[in-house]
């Protein structure tokens, strides 16, 4: 790159933002191992755009706090906010959410947050996710279905195995390209996402959204760039032990 790119995010409209709220845990589900889905009744909630995230803050008796960001899986029209939390063995917040939290508990949350990695339901989008990176795309998919615009979305998801793919049934039902790196899926042998697999998902005017671990996001993004997609049309959300911006 020799010329500087246009200002990143220029022309992207402001997204809704909310402050600290109390949420009552309404449902706790563990459909796949090492993770938890929390359904939250957020008091005085500000509706999110698909792709935005929430912060959850835990407070100990002595006032010590720990907070982490989690993507929202629910659609804006859902009366509850659904967070998907991957349980990290050394995760101070995720172990509490996965092992301790029960329906009826109150949690302190802040959101929605983020205005870049969002989809407002009006333009074609290619969604490429690795592992728990599917979560913001589940929100986009649910929103698309709710407004009758699922024709705008093309989805590719990658996981080690089907059992480790969050929201697998929902994604498969939506026609997502499923890539498994450790097991065969249909006639597709185990292996990483390839550029030619993304080609049929291309459409004029698409914005590409890539979400996953730093390694997945980097690899998927480079596939898109190498295939000729302009860097300016690609939005990336990388998460490691933490999510959000650096």
């Amino acid at each position: 790159m020799t010329e500087d790119a246009a200002v990143l995010g220029a022309g992207v409209p402001d997204a809704p933002a909310g402050g600290w709220r109390t949420a009552t845990v309404s449902g706790v589900r563990r459909p796949i191992q090492r993770s938890v889905q929390l359904r939250l009744d957020v008091h005085d909630r500000i509706d999110h755009l698909p792709g935005q995230h929430y912060v959850v803050r835990l407070t100990a008796e002595d006032g010590y706090t720990a907070q982490r960001s989690y993507s929202v899986a629910s659609a804006p029209g859902d009366p509850l906010v659904e967070l998907f939390v991957e349980r990290l063995d050394d995760g101070e917040v995720s172990t509490h959410l996965a092992d301790v939290v029960e329906p009826g508990d109150e949690l302190e949350v802040r959101g929605p947050i983020g205005g870049w990695f969002v989809w407002d339901g009006t333009a074609p989008a290619l969604l490429v996710a690795g592992g728990a990176g599917v979560v913001p795309f589940v929100s986009m998919l649910r929103h698309a279905r709710a407004i009758g615009r699922d024709d705008l979305l093309r989805i590719a998801v990658s996981a080690r195995t089907m059992a480790q793919l969050p929201y697998a049934e929902e994604l498969v039902a939506a026609g997502a390209l499923v890539v498994l790196t450790r097991e065969q899926y249909g006639i597709r042998p185990a292996g990483r996402l390839r550029a030619e697999e993304l080609l049929p998902l291309w459409e004029e005017g698409q914005t590409a959204y890539v979400c996953g671990s730093a390694a997945f996001a980097e690899a998927a993004t480079q596939l898109l760039v190498a295939s000729g997609r302009p860097a300016a049309s690609i939005r990336v959300e990388r998460f490691g032990p933490s999510g959000g911006p650096a």
Binding site: M1, T2, D4, A5, V7, L8, G9, A10, V12, D14, A15, A17, G19, T22, L58, T59, A60, E61, G63, Y64, T65, A66, Q67, R68, S69, E92, H96, V100, V101, D105, E106, L107, E108, R110, I113, G114, G115, W116, F117, A214, E218, T221, Q222, L224, V225, A231, A232, I234, R235, V236, E237, R238, F239, G240, P241, S242, G243, G244, P245, A246
Partner: protein
């Protein structure tokens, strides 16, 4: 502050005094978090421009920047996503050196940092002067890795790390503050980790 969370004990009872509130020690990890594709920038095509409210706008190439007095930072860095990393070692040139050359006008109170990717972040001038900000191309004695902003990034270690723009290419002095990329997206305009200025309104 609301009451405690039922059943939450918290793990790290002996807080390292180097950790700002709400942060944890990432140890040897250095998470990579960016909003855009990683650009491939050859050092021979990289340059840094300082313009805007200055008397003498200037651009330095890779070689010209390296000919400036070397300056180092040894210390900690803090990401808004709650990791902190202790004892980092960066080297490059002090932003003071660049500003001394371009001579900001008296009414230049803010800086917009711009990356090759179009990423932007805004900073008050007093937070990039006085030996508190660098343009760096070296980490731990080696070239700065591309995923961490190489060949050259901004380093403002006393603020949350999104202020330390990767793949830096321009500093523009401004009369008035303007929000950068994350600042437009709900993050704080200053971002002081010791005051937990994570989001607008904190």
């Amino acid at each position: 502050m609301p009451g405690p969370t039922r059943g939450f004990l918290g793990r790290r009872r002996d807080r390292d005094p180097r950790l700002p509130p709400g942060q944890y020690d990432a140890g040897s990890d250095w998470p990579v978090l960016t909003a855009e594709p990683t650009p491939r920038i050859a050092p021979e095509t990289w340059s840094i421009t300082v313009d805007g409210a200055v008397e003498a706008p200037a651009t330095w190439t890779w070689d010209e920047a390296h000919a400036l007095p070397r300056s180092e930072y040894r210390g900690d860095i803090h990401c808004v996503t709650t990791w902190s990393k202790f004892g980092t070692w960066f080297a490059g040139v002090s932003v003071d050196t660049l500003l001394d050359a371009v001579r900001p006008t008296a009414d230049a109170h803010f800086v917009m940092a711009t990356s090759k990717t179009g990423y932007t972040t805004n900073l008050p001038v007093e937070h990039v002067t006085g030996g508190r900000a660098w343009i760096v191309w070296e980490y731990d004695g080696k070239p700065l890795p591309i995923e961490h902003g190489g060949p050259v990034r901004l380093l403002v270690p006393h603020l949350y790390f999104w202020k330390s723009a990767k793949w830096i290419s321009k500093l523009t002095l401004l009369h008035r503050d303007q929000p950068g990329f994350w600042e437009q997206n709900g993050y704080h305009d200053l971002g002081d980790p010791w005051r937990q200025q994570r989001y607008q309104g904190d």
